[in-house]
């Protein structure tokens, strides 16, 4: 029997290549390409009065300089609104180059095409732009104030959206206890190691525009570029060979630079490349997380939730290319694993003169979980019951699935939890962290230190549609070629898709070669986001492999003169069950699958026209069949599948320095059936690290004029591995009933409850309320002083 690899900790096939410098990232391409360099706005809110490029144009090595006035056709239109929504009453997207106004520091104003980046930056210094600055709208308070980001958007409100289930007003009116709570989270961002990048080549012989792009969604980049340049889709090829992290930012497309590199390549007789630098990544890509929540919760004597009313404000930055997906996710994911019969949520998505906000790993769930979990802790504190007990009393029970939230999820379909076991998950986490004996450890804290413990639970909708597809082909050389349209940005797709195909088809894992995110190989796809790749592409390649298997068995049945029901595929051989001597290798079946006139090898002779195959009563390719041992499979989920998890943490706080040390960090995670525990754990490690970053290290510090004060890794404190503790992981596997493989997404999970759980533990240690994240030692110090709980 072929050893199954599904569920095994198979080593990532990507790693040797990536860690020995053999990756193929966008900036590795086109060493002689023209460099696209952008002149960006130094003002957060200003009118562009005049632009003088004359001096810059004189510079040796400058090919062309464009301003808005120079943009032809659709290039002069605003970039597309990717996800419209009925509640998004005032969407705004930016132009490729600023038209009359700039609305954040970093917005692109002038495009320079130069022989290299050095010359491009020299030219950028010589471009003279005159601005007439206006008052910048910064932060949520700024957005709610009198100044406007877009003159035609009153109150800066892009969207005002409400949803509810049950009767919240009556529930709150009748509830024995009601608490009103306020929570806030600041901005952060994904900070992928590789910034945005695009390299475009116009092949004038074959009339193809070839684009290597650091994107999470190559097929959509292709359609967008073709549409804006007004050329046939057929002329555009987009591929993302290796992408150095995306975290959501690289779902957004097309960026101004994507279009300009493509257009430049077609017009300047040279390929054109844009490679974003780190400062640009901070000031001109995407941010997330800035939200302020007001919650009103009603509950009974036992701590059971009766009603929850949440009103929050989402700072969407200057533009809304991704619609209102982020706050919509907060709204629908806020109830988490709890039975919440009466829930109302309203949000306003507001403009500020800052970098646009689009989903970043976790995608607005960290705020949702922060609000819900802090609320659960407050209920526990109010009633004097254990924080774990309040949660147990409110969990949706394992026999209540499918559980309909009564709301519409971010995919436009009903939010219905498919499966899970929340009570068991919490129990596992509690025993892992030894919750019950914490009092002892608290009392053992060294002098000058305080210890605290926290727990937080979450539910995450993953694996959204609309669909993904996969293609599997058995080559006559024996290799199995697999392709899927969505791109990989480091997740390990090449490994897990190979595992799935190897098992479904019955071939050795080593024989499977996977290509992702290349429109030349696979034209239809949605993209890598929403923890959806394994669920959607995974099930699609599984389906493709099953179709190939059927076809192989049918062909082999003829060749072996056996009944198809009696055949199986083991280790790449089609054989009669129990009689492995009657076998034919898949590679040979692939030969037979393609009737030949011309032979190319000894093996191929078997498929040539005088080899005596088949009957003369039928054509060589029978009706309804295709040549080649290959198939395309599709998976289109009925709706999202909901993963879940519980994190628990023990912290120790130094009272002199207010530094928070994480003593233990425990994760219990349920992503349905696990394809590869090594990869799931790696995803969790990375996610938790980003969560800790958002909780204790990172912020995007804007001053009142809208300048980002910490746009470098020196001052934006992405933690090093030295700051990340050991992460202990346990799994629970409740298969998803929605897809054949029973899997749920795992990519974002790790990050989601981290702010909530760390806040819970710090609050437990310090004894005063923690209502905001991130929390730096400096903040904690002043909060302790203000609380009057100074160290003795």
């Amino acid at each position: 029997m072929t050893t199954r690899s599904f569920g095994k900790a198979v080593r990532r096939t990507e790693d040797l290549r990536l860690i020995t410098g053999q990756g193929s990232f966008t900036d590795d391409a086109g060493p002689n390409a023209l460099s696209l360099v952008m002149v960006r706005s130094p003002y957060a809110n200003a009118r562009v009065v005049s632009i003088d490029v004359s001096e810059a144009e004189q510079l040796n090595g400058v090919t062309a300089i464009l301003t808005y006035e120079d943009l032809p056709g659709r290039l002069a239109e605003p970039l597309p609104l990717l996800i419209p929504h009925p509640s998004l009453s005032a969407p705004r997207t930016q132009h490729i180059l600023a038209k009359d106004y700039v609305r954040y520091v970093g917005q692109s104003v002038v495009a320079i095409f130069a022989a290299d980046r050095y010359i491009g930056e020299d030219a950028a210094e010589r471009v003279i732009v005159e601005y007439e600055p206006k008052v910048a709208v910064v932060g949520i308070d700024g957005a709610l104030g009198p100044n406007l980001v877009h003159d035609d958007v009153p109150r800066n409100v892009a969207a005002d959206h409400s949803e509810h289930v049950g009767d919240v007003d009556s529930a709150l009116a009748e509830a024995p206890h009601v608490l009103e709570l306020d929570f806030e989270m600041e901005r952060s961002m994904g900070s992928a190691l590789e910034g945005r990048a695009s390299h475009a080549t116009w092949d004038r012989h074959s009339r193809k525009l070839r684009i290597q792009n650091a994107t999470q969604t190559p097929t959509s980049v292709r359609f967008a570029v073709a549409n804006i340049l007004e050329i046939p889709d057929e002329q555009v090829e987009v591929f993302a060979i290796d992408v150095g992290g995306g975290f959501g930012t690289k779902v957004i497309h097309p960026w101004p630079e994507d279009i300009l590199t493509a257009w430049g390549a077609m017009n300047y007789e040279n390929s054109v490349k844009f490679t974003e630098d780190r400062v640009e990544h901070f000031i001109s890509s995407s941010h997330e997380r800035g939200q302020r929540h007001h919650a009103k919760v009603g509950f009974d004597e036992e701590g059971r939730l009766l009603g929850l009313d949440v009103d929050f404000v989402h700072d969407n930055g200057a533009y809304t290319p991704y619609g209102m997906i982020a706050p919509l996710i907060t709204a629908t994911q806020l109830p988490g694993p709890y039975r919440l019969p009466n829930y109302r949520v309203r949000f306003r998505s507001v403009y500020t003169n800052t970098v646009q906000v689009t989903p970043y790993r976790g995608a607005a769930r960290p705020h949702a979980v922060f609000t819900m979990e802090r609320t659960m802790d407050r209920i526990a504190a109010f009633l004097g019951i254990d924080r774990s007990e309040v949660r147990q009393r409110n969990f949706i029970q394992p026999d209540e699935f499918p559980y309909d939230l009564g709301m519409i999820f971010q995919d436009g379909r009903p939010a219905i939890y498919d499966s899970g076991d929340y009570p068991e998950m919490l129990n596992k986490a509690l025993s892992m962290i030894e919750w019950d004996s914490f009092a002892e450890r608290r009392s053992e804290a060294p002098p000058g230190k305080r210890r605290g413990i926290g727990v937080a639970c979450y539910v995450e909708g993953t694996g959204l549609g609309p669909y993904e597809g996969g293609h599997v082909r058995v080559e006559t050389g024996g290799k199995i070629q697999v392709s899927t349209g969505l791109a990989s940005s480091g997740q390990g797709h090449h490994t897990v898709f190979a595992q799935i195909v190897a098992d479904e088809l019955g071939v050795p894992f080593e024989d499977v070669e996977v290509v992702t995110g290349d429109t030349r190989r696979f034209q239809y796809a949605v993209g890598t986001f929403a923890s959806r790749a394994a669920v959607t592409s995974g099930n699609a390649v599984a389906e493709a492999a099953r179709l190939v298997k059927e076809k192989a068995i049918a062909l082999a049945a003829d060749a072996l003169e056996a009944n198809p029901e009696d055949l199986e595929i083991v280790d790449g051989q089609v054989q009669v069950k129990g009689t492995p001597v009657r076998a034919i290798p898949l590679s040979q079946v692939a030969v037979l699958a393609n009737p030949l006139r011309y032979s190319f090898s000894e093996a191929a002779r078997a498929a040539t026209q005088f080899a005596g195959n088949g009957s003369f009563d039928e054509p060589p390719i029978k009706p309804g069949e295709d040549p080649g041992l290959e198939a395309t499979g599709w998976y289109s989920p009925i709706r999202a599948t909901f993963a879940s998890g519980t994190h628990a943490v023990e912290v120790e706080i130094d009272l002199a320095t207010s530094e928070v040390e994480i003593l233990r960090y425990c994760v219990v995670h349920d992503c349905g059936r696990i394809i590869n525990p090594l990869i799931v754990e790696g995803q969790i490690h990375g996610g938790v690290a980003q969560g800790i970053a958002g909780a204790l290290y990172e912020q995007l510090a804007y001053d009142e004029d809208g300048n980002l004060q910490n746009a470098s890794f020196m001052d934006f404190l992405m933690p090093y591995c030295t700051e990340i503790p050991k992460i202990e992981i346990d799994h629970l596997e409740t298969p998803s009933p929605l897809n054949p493989l029973g899997i749920k997404g795992a990519g974002e999970a790790g990050v989601i409850p981290v702010s909530a759980v760390i806040a819970s533990a710090i609050e437990d240690a310090e004894g005063f309320e923690i209502n905001q994240m991130p929390l730096f030692p400096s903040d904690l110090h002043s909060m302790r002083l203000a609380s009057g709980r100074e160290p003795a």
């Binding site: 002199a656 530094e659 404190l717 400096s778 110090h781």
Partner: protein
């Protein structure tokens, strides 16, 4: 983030370096480049000429004698950190070097470059201040010695003249009856400190304190020295009171807020670290 164009000159000797420095307009010395190159990449500094001294053998020596450890201008942090004689003769240098950045930066960055750069967050600026050390410089006008107290004028501002090169830094050794300790808090491992304190305590023969002082980093425009002689002379280390030290330090420091920390927190931290580092001098 690409530098403006510049000409690169590799000095063949100190004399060559000083000659070039006086001849070329707005030239800058390049040592390890760990501070200068980032500034150039951001185009915050656009020197038309760089004069590289990092390969000069005559600047690559560490000399240890009875009175001091002398570190040549091409000596990297890593070399100082890994030199056995330094560890045994003036362990404070090693304690401090462990807190300077990360290994890859220490492999290139130089000790004298740190001093020339005059970043008040740099560990070596506080060390040379608390030890009352000096740098020796050379220029076409001759040589001179600048005491640490006179070297630092403001953030990233030293009293070096434009045509001067630091040739070596002199760190006086501590006496047999002296102890030192370095404490700092950085947000991430290897980052510039939010605040730091390096203390030296001299004892008399009776194991009473003869003199005690602390230099602070990251809490002012230059490394700041506070003497505790008045408070502590003739007392035992075990008698030092937290609150008195805290009071003296916090009343004398006036740090700035930035995105990482409030001024109050920095002041508080400096006071706590002073206390901890003094107590550790036993």
């Amino acid at each position: 983030m690409k530098p403006a164009s510049f000409d690169y000159h590799r000095a063949t000797s100190v004399e060559d370096a000083t000659q070039l420095l006086s001849e070329l307009e707005d030239a800058k010395i390049l040592a390890g480049g760990q501070s200068l190159i980032p500034l150039m990449n951001f185009r915050l500094s656009t020197p038309p000429h760089l004069i590289d001294i990092s390969n000069l053998p005559e600047l690559s020596e560490i000399k240890v004698d009875d009175r001091s450890v002398t570190v040549g201008a091409a000596v990297t942090h890593t070399t100082l950190l890994k030199t056995q004689r330094v560890a045994s003769e003036l362990p404070l240098l090693v304690d401090a070097e462990k807190l300077v950045a990360h290994e890859v930066i220490r492999n290139r960055g130089t000790v004298c470059g740190s001093l020339a750069h005059a970043d008040p967050a740099g560990e070596m600026t506080a060390v040379i201040r608390v030890l009352d050390g000096a740098v020796r410089t050379s220029s076409v006008d001759g040589e001179r010695t600048i005491q640490a107290v006179d070297l630092f004028e403001g953030p990233l501002q030293s009293s070096l003249k434009e045509n001067e090169v630091i040739v070596e830094a002199i760190f006086p050794k501590l006496g047999r009856n002296s102890l030192s300790s370095f404490r700092e808090v950085a947000r991430r491992h290897g980052d510039y400190a939010i605040a730091g304190a390096v203390s030296v305590v001299d004892y008399d023969d009776a194991r009473s304190i003869a003199s005690a002082r602390t230099a602070f980093l990251s809490v002012g425009p230059v490394p700041i020295l506070i003497s505790f002689d008045q408070l502590l002379a003739k007392t035992k280390i075990s008698d030092i009171g937290h609150d008195e030290i805290y009071e003296i330090v916090s009343s004398q420091l006036n740090p700035q807020a930035d995105v990482h920390a409030s001024a109050d927190y920095r002041r508080h931290l400096a006071a706590e670290l002073a206390w901890e580092s003094l107590k550790a001098c036993v």
